[in-house]
Symmetry: C2
Subunit: 348 residues, 2 copies
Amino acid sequence: TDLLLLPGDGIGPEVTAQVRRVAERLAPDLAIDERPFGGTSYDRHGTPLTDEALALAKASKAVLMGAVGGPQWAGVPRDKRPEAGLLALRAGMEVFANLRPALCFEPLADASTLKREVVEGLDIMIVRELIGGIYFGSPRFIEEIPGGKRAVDTQVYTTPEIERIGRVAFELARKRRNKVTSCEKSNVMDSGLLWREVITDLHQRDYADVQLEHMLADNAAMQLVKNPRQFDVIVTDNLFGDILSDEASQLTGSLGLLPSAALGEPGRPGLYEPIHGSAPDIAGKGIANPLAAILSFEMALRWSLDRPDLADRLFAAVGRALEKGARTPDLGGKLTTIQMGEAVLAEL
Amino acid sequence: TDLLLLPGDGIGPEVTAQVRRVAERLAPDLAIDERPFGGTSYDRHGTPLTDEALALAKASKAVLMGAVGGPQWAGVPRDKRPEAGLLALRAGMEVFANLRPALCFEPLADASTLKREVVEGLDIMIVRELIGGIYFGSPRFIEEIPGGKRAVDTQVYTTPEIERIGRVAFELARKRRNKVTSCEKSNVMDSGLLWREVITDLHQRDYADVQLEHMLADNAAMQLVKNPRQFDVIVTDNLFGDILSDEASQLTGSLGLLPSAALGEPGRPGLYEPIHGSAPDIAGKGIANPLAAILSFEMALRWSLDRPDLADRLFAAVGRALEKGARTPDLGGKLTTIQMGEAVLAEL
Ligand SMILES: CC(C)[C@H](C(=O)O)[C@@H](O)C(=O)O
Ligand SMILES: CC(C)[C@H](C(=O)O)[C@@H](O)C(=O)O
């Protein structure tokens, strides 16, 4: 399989259906497969990620996920929840580097809650560590104590984990505006101290030509609102990356368009997914914006399927469709999911 | 001592000097004392918080801190850093509830990077747990391992810790717009699961009249940018509270005006401080905005010194000074720190 589709839950199947149409038109030679995932897989197979689906994912060139989760699985045991399937997929595929662009598409600059002059031309790449930190550290438990319970989570990072994600950030910066901002809480966390030390060493050793800045995560949350265009590449841990990338994506007015990539060692398959969630409130209505999923496929063409030419064509087609006024309801328009897919196909 | 001033570092001494002038005019009967704190205390006494200063703080009715930290103490051992003094002061005073308002002052609505119609009238109260979580959990260490180092931090929360901060949030909400949003990452953290469980139980048991909403912390970071006025009171843990409150404060355009209070059990002294930091870039220039410190004193009058009448007078005086156009450089004006203090005094 070249491309494994994991439509997942909520609006996931609706948006990945448009990815399939685009892929079949743009790259008819791609071998595409599909498996249930998340809550949908739990309902059918009793687990959010079957061994067979994980094995297939690891044997593919790229995996494209729609979205996971929804209120109907709130009562499911923690380790069978849709989110657990996503964490298991990330860990199983060993995709340690999550690339989350926050990009302001010019025709949408006015859709932001921020002033146009603050977000126009915004182009940030957040590099989030994806398979370590407090998401995966042990011990983690809830125990009974006199008078109630006690819950523990553990944040762990090692030098090699920090170094490999640092490399990804510095390499990306060299192809962009040559600046990396590294975010942690080294003023209160030991993992933050190690993070800062390892990134500083790596910079001096191999990337002294790149501009490096350290910023506390709380200050970064502030600076993203104050002056987001000061950032080029942001590198940070799993938890801070989760929060800061969600904040950054909302700055642009283009949230329904934002894709992401999760990459492992060179040659290993990448995992691609829209930044948006499963959006239970509009699931099944046929009005979800498929562009974030389609642009996730664009990233897959570029980073895993070795077809940058097709990626360029697809990116340009999306841009033209937007310029001509194609808009789903989240962008203030009236197009359905299918019609938005067709607007892109028409430009290919 | 009624009021202990801890001017601290950077612009801290400049802004607390204006608090002293305001306090002496407004409440001449207050017994005011002062001690060095943070880097300034380290330089003089070899520790950022002396035992004597902590004892005095605990014996006061209210403590007002300016700011701590600065690049000159970057090389100081971790446990002697200015920030360590602040953490020790919070823990020593047992101020578990950090109240951080994000308020948009009408005359400053246009100073926000967000559109006026998004932030006008914004009034959020963030209730942050301040003496638990990953800031204080153990074990925490950095150890040598083959190929580098390994750093560990521990997040710990217990039922009583979550319950007491939850109570503060629900009580506050009843005096405001009666809504509490509780933020955690219960989809990936055990402490988040316990947090949600305890807040839910407390709500059902004692505060069913208040509207309660649970929101994942990453989504909250997004919603603060998308539609900040949906929030009334936000209750969250130490680390998420640090990040979300900094983000929220930057939404308003009024950052230089925002105070905060840290409270313990009833009858115990409160710790008051501006949200802004020590601002080393403008320290010593006499241009820092003293309003956040002055409004921190306003909170102290209200919550610890039992003088709500004086608090009302002070709040109104600050409002009038702003309406008449008093502006320090951070607000686009030309007043010095001292002149801004005088503008408030003139309205008292
Ligand atoms: C669904 C959830 C486990 C996930 C995360 O927290 O990583 C999501 O918020 C994301 O950012 O992809
Ligand atoms: C100075 C630092 C330790 C502190 C914190 O992280 O709590 C600061 O950011 C704050 O929010 O008051």
